[in-house]
Amino acid sequence: MEQNVLLQLSHISKRYKTELALKDINMELHPGEILGFLGPSGAGKTTTIKIITGQLRQTSGEAKILGTDSANIDASIYERIGVVSDNSGIYEKMTVWQNLNMFAKIWRVPRTRVEEVLRQVDLSEHSKKQAGKLSKGQKQRLVLARAVLHKPRILFLDEPTSGLDPTTAVEIHKMLLDLKKEGMAIFLTTHNMEEATKLCDNVALLYQGEIVEFGSPQELCLKYNHDKRYQILLDDRKEIILEQSPENIRKIAEWMEKDQVQCIHSCEPTLESVFLQVTGKTLNAW
C-alpha cells in the first residue's frame, strides 16, 4: 500500500443472505481528497462505510484503512478517523459542551481544542444548551464538531446534509472545504449530486451495490457530453434548447445578428444526468 494512500478498497463484496449489497468495489483515498460515494438510498453507501470502519465484515475482498485491514481495526485506528453516521448519535440530555468534552477525554484532547472546535462550528454561545434542544442544523454541526475534535486523518460522512436547509448545508460545505485544505481526507456519501459536484475531487457512482462510474465530476460530465446543446432565451421570453448542428448554429448566429438573444448557455451534463445515462434511473425517483 502506497504511503499516501489512506484508504484502499480491493474487490469488496458484501452479501446479506440472498441479496448482494456490494459487488467488487475498488477505490483509494488520499490525503486532502474528498471522495464522493454517490447513489440512491439502498445502493450500498452506508454498508461501505460500515465495512471500512470495522462495524461490518465484508463477504470478500480487502479493505485497508491507514494500512490496517478493517477486520482488525483497533483503538489506534479509531483515534485517527472521524465518523459521522446517518443518525446523529448525540447525547440529547447532555449539554453541547458535555457532548464534546466526553469525547475530548476519550481522545485526550485539551479543553482549548473543544473551545476552538465550538467556535469553528459557531456553537460557542450554545455550549451550555441541552443538545436535544438544538435545531437540526445545529445538531449536525455538533456531530461534525465531535467527529473532527481529535483532528482525524480521514473523516467519514454519511449523508451529512440530508434534510438540512440550504443555508446550513452551505455552512457545512464550507467547513468541509476548510478541513480539506488542512489535509484531511474526506469520504462522503450522498445522493445530492450538486453537493458532490461542488465538494468532491472524485466521485464513485454506486448503483445496486456496484460502482458504475468513477472519476472527477468534471471528467464524468465531459465524458458523457455527447450531445452538445445550447439554451437560448430570446427577447420575446421564449426559451429554446438547440442541439449543436450547422443549421442550428446558423440560426443562433442569425438571432444574434438581429440582437434578439437575451442570453445563451451551453448545457453541460450534470452528475444527475450522467447517473441517468449510466443507469437509466434518476436519483429523484428514489
Binding site: K50, Q55, W107
Partner: protein
C-alpha cells in the same frame, strides 16, 4: 493512562445517561422506599414496635434481591438499549473505546450503587447490626451484584430498544427474585433457590434476620462463583458473535 481516561469517560457518560433517565433512577429509590414502608407497616406486629424475625427476613429478602435485580438486570440492560435506540453506542464504539472499556464503564456505577443500596437496606430495615456479619454480607453482595450486572450486559446485548430490555429483564427478574422469596413456602422452590445466586443472598439474610450465625458453605461459594463465570462466558460468547449491537 490513556485507557484509564477512556474508562473514566465511558463511566461518566453512562452515569450521566442513567441519572437523566427517570425510569432508571427511580428503581433504587423505590426499593429503599418499599423497605421503609413495609417496616412501618409491619412494625405493629412485633413487640415494642419491632419487626418479628420472619417479617424482617421477608423484608430483607425482598429488598436486597429486588435491589440486585433492578440495578443489575434493568439499569445496566436498559442503559445499553437506550444507547442503541439513540445511536450513541455506535458513536462510542467507533471513537476508540474498546469492548472491555465499555463493559467496565457500563457496570461500574450500577455495581457500586447496588452494593451501597444493599447496605442502605440493612440500615433502613432497622435490623440489629450485631446480628449481621458485615464482611460476609459485603462479599456476598459484591459477587451477587457483579453477576446481576453481567446479566444486565447480556440483556443489553439482546435488546434493541428499552422496551425490549424490559421485556427480557422482567421475566429474569421474576425468576431470580421470586423463586428465593417464595422458597419459604415450597420445598421445591427452596431447592431450586439454593442453586440461584439470589438464593444464596436470601439464605444469608434469613440467618441475619433470625439472629443466627451465617456460615457460607461450599455449595454457596460454588453457586456464586459458578454463576459469575457462566454469566461472563455467556456474555463473551454473545459479544464475540455480534459485538454490542447486531447489524
Amino acid at each position: 493512562m490513556g485507557n484509564m481516561n477512556k474508562l473514566a469517560a465511558v463511566a461518566q457518560i453512562k452515569w450521566l445517561c442513567m441519572s437523566q433517565n427517570t425510569a432508571v433512577v427511580i428503581g433504587p429509590f423505590m426499593v429503599i422506599g418499599m423497605v421503609w414502608g413495609f417496616k412501618i407497616l409491619y412494625s405493629n406486629f412485633g413487640p415494642n414496635g419491632e419487626l418479628i424475625p420472619i417479617m424482617m427476613a421477608m423484608l430483607l429478602n425482598l429488598g436486597v434481591t429486588m435491589n440486585i435485580c433492578i440495578n443489575g438486570f434493568l439499569m445496566v440492560g436498559t442503559a445499553i438499549a437506550e444507547e442503541k435506540e439513540k445511536h450513541t453506542l455506535r458513536v462510542l464504539m467507533t471513537s476508540s473505546v474498546t469492548g472491555m472499556q465499555y463493559f467496565i464503564g457500563s457496570i461500574l456505577y450500577p455495581f457500586v450503587l447496588t452494593v451501597v443500596i444493599n447496605f442502605a437496606i440493612l440500615w433502613v430495615s432497622g435490623i440489629e447490626m450485631g446480628q449481621v456479619s458485615v464482611p460476609v454480607f459485603f462479599l456476598v453482595s459484591v459477587i451477587a451484584s457483579l453477576i446481576s450486572c453481567v446479566i444486565g450486559m447480556i440483556v443489553g446485548i439482546c435488546a434493541s430498544t428499552q422496551m425490549n430490555a424490559n421485556l427480557i429483564g422482567y421475566p429474569l427478574m421474576m425468576v431470580f427474585m421470586m423463586v428465593p422469596i417464595l422458597g419459604n413456602l415450597s420445598e421445591g422452590l427452596r431447592r431450586i433457590s439454593g442453586f440461584l445466586f439470589t438464593g444464596v443472598v436470601t439464605q444469608m439474610t434469613d440467618c441475619f434476620a433470625n439472629g443466627m450465625e451465617y456460615k457460607i458453605e461450599a455449595l454457596d461459594i460454588a453457586v456464586l462463583f459458578g454463576e459469575l463465570i457462566i454469566s461472563m462466558l455467556v456474555f463473551l460468547v454473545m459479544y464475540r458473535k455480534n459485538g454490542y449491537e447486531k447489524d
